[in-house]
Every structure is written in structure tokens, then in C-alpha cells.
């Protein structure tokens, strides 16, 4: 499979109150092949949404993408683009859908007009052709009676219908990559399944690559090809989905799995990860997970790189190269990270 999107050492920084800069996204690297679904998983505040916005150069003011970061889409260096060339990427080559379909649609325009807007922006089409295509898209994303829906206003549709419309809008210009930022978080569980099925189907029928951003491991399971787990602005573990679910290696990933209830096997008490994600201004030196980690590793004062942890499996933990003996549980999380529950960057 050929690489569609290649992200190398992506760093996004914001000025902090003290006059310095913090880096909520701190050296993220990953690649997506054509037609692949990659999941970016992590807690609120780990930098996953900011990462996705940076791919489209939509980092909110006063943030900026640090020099040295690289985002390549096919042969295009996205970070070198300006003005019109950049808008040619947005929507046309990378489509994006957002978490909250209730507020991501413009309330004063009909659904159909919002879908055809993207077509007119990127292609030369007559009104009738655009309408035909929009109706086909509404059909494709599973909206019953597209003709009636075409003329509806967003407030006349349910949350699930609106998210389908958002997907149709994102597909209007036939992008090669769809970024889905928490596409189901704001929806009822019954509707979540339908939306995820739409994404699965689009990927199968269109061969479109999907970057799925979520905090929900249940959404990832059996759907994504590979998973990148993010923690505190960095990717801490990367593996094919089946491998990651069978054999999570990083203590943070293991903690995530331990905090999700299982339907099979003996009933166990859920083990939440102690403390919370520290804000970017309070990231510890060395391994960022160190204050919350149940394992004390002799080298954890030193930030580990992504190390090989198996076939196609990498993690940012010294355990990959220097296993330690029995797991020693540490005491409750220290006071410094306990008060740091604010999610700043999500």
C-alpha cells in the first residue's frame, strides 16, 4: 500500500502566561496508507484533536506549527502551502467531520445548499449536476428520502441525521482522506453504530483513507487497521488493532483497557488510571506517564523514544528494551498532577 499522509515530528506550540511556549502536540509522527483506517486514541487533553487540526493548518490562534514539523499528503508538502493552494487541500483532498453535528452545520442554510457549496468551490458544475450528486451522497450516507432532506434546515434533523449530512458535506469534493474527530461522541449509542457503519462502508466502497480520532476503544475495535495511542502530546504506542487489543504493552494502554468493562470472563473491579492527564505546562521530565505509571523503571527519568515492541508494534517505554521484574504498584497520584484535570487542548 502506498503512503497517503506522512506526518513527521509534528509539533504545535502555544504561548504560555510566563512568556515561554508550551507544546500540546510534541513530536507526533505517523503515516496513513491509501484506503487505511488509522485510529488516534487518547484521553481529553492529549493533543489528538489539535493534531488533526494541524493536518489542515487550522491550529487556532495564537498557536503555531513549529518549524521542523512535516506533513506530506502524497507529493504535497502541506505545511509549505499558502492561501488558495491550502484551500485546495481543505475539503478537496482532506475532508473533515467534527464531534458535534448540532453546531457544525450552518443553521441558516438548507442542508442541500451546504453539501453543494463544497462542490461548487472545488469543481465546475451546474446547479442541476450538483444537486444530483448531493442527492446521491445523501443516499450514500444512509439518509432516507434524500429529496425531502435536501430542502430541510439543520434544526429539522436529528443528531444522527445531521452527522450523516456532515459526512455528506465532507465527501462532496471526493477527498482521499477523511478525518473524523470524535464523530460519534455527541450521539446516542444507537446512532453511534449507524454512523460508524457509514464510515466503514465509505472506506470499503470508495477506498478512502480515514483518520479516526476517538477516546473510545470500543469504537476502534474491529474497525481501524492500526491504532496510535496518544498521551500528553506524544504517541506512546502504535500497533495493528488486533495486536494492540491482544497485547497492549505500554502501561498507559494497559491502563486504558483495565478501565473499560468487559462483557465476557470473570467480573472484575475496574481499575481506573490514577490521576489525570497533566496540562502541557506541567508535563514531567523524562517519561510523561511516569507520575501515573504503576511501574517504576530505572530509566524513566529519561524520555524514551518509540521503541520496537514486536512486529509492527512500537511503544514509548523503556520496558520494550529493558524489562523490569515484578510490577510494583505506586501510591496515589502525586498532588501536582491531581489538580490538573483541565482539558485544554481537546
Amino acid at each position: 500500500m502506498t503512503t497517503l499522509l506522512d506526518v513527521q515530528d509534528l509539533r504545535v506550540s502555544f504561548p504560555d502566561a510566563a512568556g515561554g511556549r508550551i507544546q500540546p502536540v510534541d513530536g507526533v509522527s505517523f503515516a496513513i496508507a491509501r484506503g487505511e483506517m488509522l485510529a488516534l486514541v487518547g484521553e481529553s487533553g492529549c493533543g489528538k484533536s489539535l493534531t488533526s487540526l494541524a493536518l489542515l493548518r487550522l491550529v487556532p490562534e495564537p498557536g503555531r506549527i513549529e518549524p521542523g514539523s512535516r506533513v506530506r499528503l502524497g507529493d504535497t508538502d502541506v505545511l509549505a502551502l499558502r492561501g488558495g493552494a491550502l484551500r485546495e487541500i481543505r475539503g478537496r483532498r482532506i475532508g473533515m467531520i467534527f464531534q458535534d453535528p448540532m453546531t457544525s452545520l450552518n443553521p441558516v442554510f438548507r442542508v442541500g445548499d451546504q453539501i453543494t457549496e463544497g462542490m461548487h468551490a472545488h469543481f465546475k458544475l451546474s446547479k442541476a449536476e450538483a444537486r444530483e450528486r448531493a442527492l446521491a451522497l445523501l443516499e450514500e450516507v444512509g439518509i432516507p428520502d434524500p429529496v425531502a432532506r435536501f430542502d430541510a434546515y439543520p434544526h429539522q434533523l436529528s443528531g444522527g441525521m445531521r452527522q450523516r449530512v456532515m459526512i455528506a458535506i465532507a465527501l462532496a469534493a471526493q477527498p482521499e482522506l477523511l478525518i473524523a474527530d470524535e464523530p460519534t461522541t455527541a450521539l446516542d449509542v444507537t446512532v453511534q453504530a449507524q454512523i460508524l457503519e457509514v464510515l466503514d462502508r465509505l472506506r470499503a466502497t470508495r477506498g478512502m483513507a480515514i483518520l479516526l480520532i476517538t477516546h473510545d476503544l470500543g469504537v476502534v475495535a474491529g474497525r481501524a487497521d492500526r491504532v496510535c495511542v496518544m498521551y500528553a502530546g506524544q504517541i506512546v504506542e502504535e500497533a495493528p488493532t488486533a495486536e494492540l487489543f491482544r497485547n497492549p504493552r505500554h502501561p498507559y494502554t494497559q491502563g486504558l483497557f483495565a478501565s473499560v468493562p468487559k462483557l465476557t470472563g470473570p467480573r472484575e473491579r475496574l481499575t481506573p488510571i490514577k490521576g489525570s492527564v497533566p496540562p502541557p505546562s506541567a508535563w514531567p521530565t523524562g517519561c510523561r506517564f511516569r507520575p501515573r505509571c504503576p511501574i517504576v523503571h530505572p530509566r524513566s527519568a529519561e524520555l524514551p523514544p518509540l521503541l520496537d515492541a514486536g512486529p509492527a508494534h512500537r511503544m514509548r517505554c523503556w520496558l520494550a528494551v529493558e524489562p523490569v521484574g515484578p510490577v510494583e504498584p505506586v501510591g496515589p497520584a502525586s498532588a501536582t498532577d491531581r489538580g490538573a484535570a483541565e482539558d485544554r487542548t481537546a
Partner: protein, 319 residues
């Protein structure tokens, strides 16, 4: 867009005040539009000796003024001028306020700071003084100059209103979504921000019409507005002030016209304000849902169960 406006108008019409104001305003507009065709020439002075200051009666419904002119004809003719000046000046103010507010709110930074400091400075000076200062440039103020000067001094508060609305809208996810789809600055401003910011602007502009009519009447009363012999409501009150006790109809009827017009405009403005307020349920209720759309969508299956089942499956070594 069209539909939501229709809904807002329907909601405004549904309020007693809105309906009364609309009917009143339509009546006034019809009267000043059609009246001159039915009434005597407002400039005619049929009998300046015997026909002056006649009380309202059969020949002259509103009586006559000191120059024996028909007061009703002059009120109607003056209404044309007052409404035209009010409407055009309010439109000019709204447009200027809209453009400045959009630029300041969307561009932010230095553009915002400079524009808003200018607005601050302009707001410090009372509008009437500003108008007196500017209008003093003319010996006889032309009508167009009056419209431009009133319009150009009325947009400061409107620009603030629009800017605040744009700042709120700029943070809405649909603006980010539009950017993610490749929309440029102009498209964002005119397609995504402007239509959503129009609600408060329309209310402000409507109320502005009433304000301008009052201002114009005041200026005409001071002799700086519409120049005689062109009749205007403010000018008529000024002309009749010497005979206020002996022939009050010369000032009472134009005064009444001002009161009714401003009242009508405010009733409409208030009703629009209520109808466009997102916290009012009326607008949502007024939009008929297309009949063919079923209320609920079909439910396929419970996702959490499925997702977790899939997850536990793939965690089994055999999977």
C-alpha cells in the same frame, strides 16, 4: 435562509404588538404614498387673508396653517420626506455598521483595535452636536446631504452589535467546519457570518428608522433639517409654534404623525427582536417540518454492546 426569515416574520406577525405595528406602518406608508393624489396641493395658498388658521372642518380635515395651506396635505407630503429620510438613513447606518462590525470582528487584532477605538471616539460626541456641526457646512441643507450625514453618524453602536455577534459566531464549530472544507475569508464572512448576524442588525435597523425620524424632526425644528417650502413634520411643528395656543392643529397633527410612526416602527422592531431571539421557542414552532420526514430514524442495534463484544473478541488470543 429564506425559510427561517419567513418563520421569523410569521412569528413577529403572530404577536399582537407586531401585528398592530405592521398594520399601522402599512397604513402610514399607504397614506403618504397615495394621499398626495387625493388631497389638495400642499403648497397652495388659496386665501392667505381669510383662509389662514382655519379650525379642522369639512373643507380642511386637519384645518389650515398660517399661510392657509391644508394641514392634512402637508402632513402627508411631509410624511413622504420623513419616511424616505428615515428609511434611507437607517439603511445607510445599518450597512456601514455591518461592514465595520464584520471587518473588526472577523479580522480581529489591529483592524479591530483601530476600528473600535474610532467608534469609541465617535460615540463620545453626542449625535445631535455632531449633526449640527456637520450640517452647518450648508446654507440650505440638500436632502441627500441630510440622509448621508444622518446615516453616517448612526452606525457606531450598530458596528459594536455586529462585531459582538461575529465574535460569538466565529467560535461556532460550523465556521471551523467551513474552513476545514476550504472556504476562504470572504466566503466565511458573507456566507457563514453575515446571515447569522443579521437578526440583531435587522432589529437595530428597524428601531433606527424611528430614531432617524425623530432626529430629522428635531433638526427641522431647529431649522437645520428639511428646508421650507418642502413640508416636513419637524418643520411644520416649528412653523406652527407661534400659534400653538390659538391654532394648535398646525403642530398637533404632524406631532401625532411622528408619534404614530415611531410607535409603529418600535412595535415591529420589538416583535422582530422577540421572534429572532434564539431563546424564544416561537421561531422553531413556526417552521413547519416537511411532512415526509418521519420523526424518528430507524434504530439498528445497540452499539456499546456490539463494540465491547468486538473488543473482547479481539482480545482473546484465538482472535
Amino acid at each position: 435562509m429564506r425559510g427561517s426569515w419567513r418563520a421569523a416574520l410569521a412569528a413577529a406577525w403572530g404577536r399582537p404588538g407586531g401585528r398592530l405595528g405592521t398594520l399601522l406602518l402599512l397604513g402610514i406608508v399607504a397614506a403618504v404614498a397615495l394621499g398626495p393624489f387625493l388631497l389638495p396641493d400642499p403648497a397652495a395658498q388659496p386665501d392667505i387673508l381669510g383662509g389662514a388658521n382655519l379650525a379642522p372642518g369639512a373643507g380642511h380635515l386637519f384645518g389650515t396653517d398660517q399661510l392657509s395651506r391644508d394641514v392634512l396635505a402637508r402632513v402627508v407630503a411631509g410624511g413622504r420626506v420623513s419616511l424616505a429620510v428615515g428609511g434611507l438613513a437607517a439603511l445607510l447606518s445599518a450597512t456601514l455598521g455591518l461592514l465595520v462590525g464584520l471587518a473588526a470582528g472577523y479580522r480581529g487584532g489591529a483592524v479591530d483595535a483601530v476600528l473600535m477605538r474610532l467608534v469609541d471616539a465617535a460615540l463620545v460626541v453626542p449625535r445631535l452636536f455632531l449633526l449640527l456641526l456637520l450640517l452647518a457646512a450648508w446654507e440650505r441643507v440638500p436632502l441627500a446631504a441630510l440622509v448621508v450625514v444622518i446615516g453616517a453618524t448612526g452606525w457606531f453602536a450598530t458596528s459594536r452589535l455586529v462585531r459582538a455577534e461575529v465574535l460569538r459566531l466565529k467560535a461556532e464549530p460550523f465556521v471551523l467546519a467551513a474552513e476545514a472544507l476550504g472556504a476562504g475569508g470572504r466566503r466565511i464572512i458573507f456566507r457563514h457570518l453575515l446571515p447569522n448576524a443579521l437578526g440583531p442588525l435587522v432589529v437595530a435597523a428597524t428601531l433606527g428608522v424611528g430614531e432617524v425620524i425623530l432626529l430629522e424632526a428635531g433638526l427641522s425644528f431647529l431649522g437645520l433639517g428639511i428646508q421650507p417650502p418642502t413640508p416636513s413634520w419637524g418643520g411644520m411643528i416649528y412653523d406652527a409654534k407661534d400659534v400653538l395656543v390659538t391654532a394648535p392643529w398646525g403642530s398637533v397633527f404632524p406631532g401625532l404623525a411622528i408619534v404614530l410612526t415611531v410607535l409603529a416602527v418600535h412595535l415591529v422592531g420589538d416583535a422582530l427582536h422577540a421572534a429572532l431571539d434564539p431563546r424564544e421557542a416561537a421561531i422553531v414552532a413556526a417552521v413547519p417540518a416537511p411532512a415526509s420526514i418521519p420523526a424518528a430514524e430507524p434504530v439498528t442495534r445497540l452499539d456499546l454492546e456490539a463494540g465491547l463484544a468486538r473488543m473482547s473478541d479481539s482480545r482473546e488470543p484465538a482472535a
